[in-house]
């Protein structure tokens, strides 16, 4: 059985890019989680910075409610620039 709570791991692959989720691991505390994350997820220099976050601290949207949750954005085509007619000849818009 894995020791400690579950931690989610985020790695910044290169300077200039945002941290992205790569996976999770078990560890008894934050310090150990960080060290384990380095060993588990960056053995081949996959990253230059790591965040570890207790999985229990993450609140996720429910897959069952996906449709109702994201529906409000579905009928708002006017949020996209392609919704608007750009008259012939108008540049830089």
């Amino acid at each position: 059985m894995a020791a400690g709570e579950l931690w989610e791991v985020f790695v910044r692959p290169r300077r200039g890019l945002a941290h992205t989720h790569v996976g999770s691991l078990h560890a008894p505390d934050a310090e150990m989680a960080l060290r384990n994350a380095r060993d588990v997820y960056t053995r081949r220099q996959e990253g230059v910075s790591i965040w570890v976050i207790p999985a229990g601290a993450i609140t996720a949207s429910s897959p069952d409610e996906k449709d109702a949750f994201f529906d409000p954005a579905a009928d708002k085509v006017y949020r996209h620039p392609t919704f608007y007619d750009v008259p012939e000849g108008a540049g830089h818009l």
Binding site: Y78, G91, H92
Partner: protein, 359 residues
């Protein structure tokens, strides 16, 4: 001029896509690791020179941090205050379609303000402090939002001219040396494109409508043209922050270069609208290909910055009222969260008690 992001035929979205590509390429070139003790400044300088990004936990000069906080906060405040002039017309939009679009746009401005406040917070300043500094006047927002929106056509003029000028200013910020700001700007610029187009469409519709509608569109353009030119800030000779910001690659082009680019774009767009720009001296210089134009009234700009524009007091009073009126919501949310946390803590105690009861 930097790279090819001033390409004559590129759309703004193309320029943003280029900036995003450059960011990924610079990341792939790699310059990782950390500076030796005592070498921090040299390391920072190398990162900036290599077009790479400075990240929140990197060493950075104190003045760089301070400049970024000032600039990103001012930018965030502008998005938030910018909701007011347009919000003024939501309830009076001429159709349900226009109303839904305007709501979505004002909603975007709030979102952009939040992305930017979050970017500023990575530099070690608290959100509450930023809000306080806006309300008590220690930090500024773009002067353009201190002008009133007198007719529906103003919503069109703001989208076309004000958002257009903002985009010209903001696209180079997608290449800013500070990572969180550059990434926020890429997201914002992609979303801004609809703002400019919806404004242009409103003006095009009005300009091809009745004589009264056409006159309303022309009047709005007349009033917003010079304040939009002033958005690029004082002339290069008087710009206090420019040189150092260019050195740090926070800023990429001078105020006057950006203003010129905006004028050149607008002349062509105005001709398609069939509206006039209110400048009798506007003419193309055949040698440079750029348009000569009349400068905005920079004394007026300074007055508006100092707090004496038509709507300065109203904008801040509204912001303060909204913030104060929201206090009970923040308190209620905090009280509810505290109660939930206390409830979670109580639960094991309750199950202990029930086990004892069973035993």
């Amino acid at each position: 001029m930097y790279g090819n992001d001033f390409g004559p035929d590129q759309s703004l979205l193309d320029q943003v896509a280029d900036a995003e590509r450059a960011l990924v390429e610079a990341a792939a070139r790699g310059r990782d690791g950390a500076p030796e003790t005592g070498e921090e400044q040299a390391y920072f300088d190398q990162i900036v020179a290599a077009e790479q990004k400075v990240e929140p936990r990197d060493w950075m000069p104190a003045a760089y941090r301070k400049t970024l906080i000032r600039q990103i906060a001012q930018h965030a405040h502008s998005e938030i205050i910018g909701m007011q002039p347009e919000g003024n017309w939501i309830s009076r939009a001429p159709s349900l379609k226009r109303k839904a679009i305007l709501l979505a746009k004002v909603q975007d401005e709030a979102g952009h303000g939040l992305y930017l406040y979050a970017a500023a917070e990575t530099l070690g300043i608290e959100r509450d402090e930023l809000v306080d500094m806006l309300i008590d006047g220690r930090q500024k927002y773009s002067s353009i939002f201190n002008y009133p929106t007198l007719s529906w056509a103003d919503v069109g003029a703001i989208g076309w001219l004000v958002d257009g000028a903002a985009i010209v200013n903001q696209v180079p910020l997608c290449r800013c040396s500070y990572g969180p700001y550059a990434r926020a700007m890429i997201r914002i610029c992609k979303e801004e494109s609809f703002h400019q187009r919806q404004g242009y469409e409103i003006l095009y519709t009005l300009a091809h409508g009745t004589p009264e509608q056409r006159a309303m569109a022309q009047d709005a353009v007349n009033r917003w043209w010079y304040p939009s030119l002033a958005m690029f800030g004082p002339p290069d000779t008087d710009s206090t922050h420019s040189e150092q910001s260019m050195g740090w690659k926070i800023k990429r082009f001078s105020n006057d270069d950006l203003r010129q680019r905006f004028v050149d774009m607008c002349v062509q767009q105005a001709s398609v609208l069939g509206l006039d720009l209110p400048d009798a001296d506007l003419r193309r210089d055949d040698e440079t290909g750029h348009y000569a134009y009349t400068q905005p009234d920079f004394d007026e700009l300074m007055q508006v910055i100092k707090g004496n524009g038509p709507c300065n007091r109203e904008r801040i009073a509204n912001r303060k009222r909204a913030h104060d009126n929201g206090a009970w919501v923040r308190e209620a949310a905090a009280a509810y969260a505290a109660k939930q946390t206390a409830g979670v803590r109580r639960e094991p105690a309750r199950s202990d008690a029930s086990e004892k009861a069973v035993a």
